[in-house]
Amino acid sequence: MYNSVSYRESSVDFYSLYMQKEQIGRMRNYNLNIAGYNIRIESAEDGPDLVPSQRFRRNIIQNPEYDVCIRVHHGSLKPKDDSERLFVAPYVVEINGYKITRSDNFWSVYRQNGDMLLITNFPESPSGKKAMLKFSLALREWDLWIENAGSETDPLEYPLDGLILYYLTAINSDIMIHASGVYYNGHGYLFSGVSGKGKTTMAMLWKNIGAQVIHDDRLIIRNTDGIFRMYNTPVYKNDIPNNAAIDRIFLIEHGNENKMTLLREASSVSQVIANCIQHNYSQDMIARFLGSVSMMCSKIPVATLSYKPDRSIIEYILRNE
C-alpha cells in the first residue's frame, strides 16, 4: 500500500510557483509549506522587511492558513533572571573529519513564566545578528525578535530554520533525522547515519541509476494514517520539496563488504534515535518521541548496513528485499 508518487505532482506545482517567486524581493509576510507544515512568517508593524533566502522560495505557497505563525520584530530581548535554562548547544564545525567547538553557547532554550524562549546566534551572518524566539508547544502564534536585522532580513537563517522545524516535529509527534532518502521502483529507502557515514554517497549511487533522491542529509518523517513518509526540508538552494513513503530503514556505515543485519525491538529503536535530532530536556517530549520512533520501528524493518561505495550495494539491497 504505497502512495509514493504524489511528490511528482507536488514538485511540479512548487516549481512553477518558485519561478514566479524568484522575482519577489522584500515582503511583509509569506507562507511556507515545509514537510507539510504550513508556516506563516509576518513582520510586525515595526518589524523588518522579510527576504527569504533562495533555498526557501520553492516552499512559498499562497495559502493564508497556518500551523504556526511567526511574527518578526526588531530588537532584542533577554531572558529574565528567574528564567531557567533548559538546554544549550555548542557551535561545532567539522574540518577534515575533526569536530572543533567554536563556541560553547551557540543556542539555548529557556523556560520563563510558562513561555519557552530560544536564543541563538547566526554564525553565517556578517552583521552579528542575534535572535530570540518566544514559542510554545501548545499555541500557534510565536514571536521572533531579531537584533541587528537591518531594514530587511531572512528570518529563517541557519540555525533558526532547523530549530523551528524541530519544534514543529516535536509538537506533531514527528521525527527529524540525519538521513538520506531515495525513491526507486515504487519503494522508499532511508539511509541514516551521522556525518561521515556515507549518506550523500549512498544517495548519489541511487541517483546514478535513476532513483529520485528525496534528500541526502536531513529528513523529516511523518506518520499519516499509519504510513511513514520522509520529507525533505530546504537545506540547499536547489532543494525541491519532495516526499515518499518509507519501506526500509538502513543505519549505514562504510565497509569492505556489503553486509546487512536486521535489528530487532529495542536495538532498532535506540539506534534510530541515536541519529535523530532531539532536545531531551523534557520527559514529556522524550516519551512522545520514543513512542513515535517505536511505532515506526514496529512497522518498518530496520537494519544496519555496512557497504562498499559502488553499485554493488544497490544490487545487494534489491536482492535482499
Binding site: 529495542a266 529503536v269 513512542g291 517505536s294
Partner: protein, 95 residues
Amino acid sequence: MTDPKAVFSHSPDVVTRKTGNEYVLVPVANNIADMESLYALNETGAFIWDLLDGERNVEEIILIFAREYGINHKTASEDVISFLNEMSKYLIIKI
C-alpha cells in the same frame, strides 16, 4: 565493590519504553553531549532493570537473577554488578 545490602531505584530523570521484552532508556539531558547516552536493554538487562524497584537489595536481586536464568551465584553476581556499574552514571540512583 557494590554493597550487597545497597538498594537502587530508577532515576526519575530517565524515560523508559518497553518494546517486546526489551527496554530503551533515554536520560533527560540539558545539552547535546549528554544526549549521546541512550541505552537499549536486552531481555536479560530488562529483567534486572525491573528488579530495581527501590525495595530489593543487590543480594536479593542476584539470587532472583541466578534462579531465573539457572546460573551460579558468582556468575549472577558478576552480571548484576556489571549492569549496576553501567547504569550508575545516568540511569539509576542509590536509595
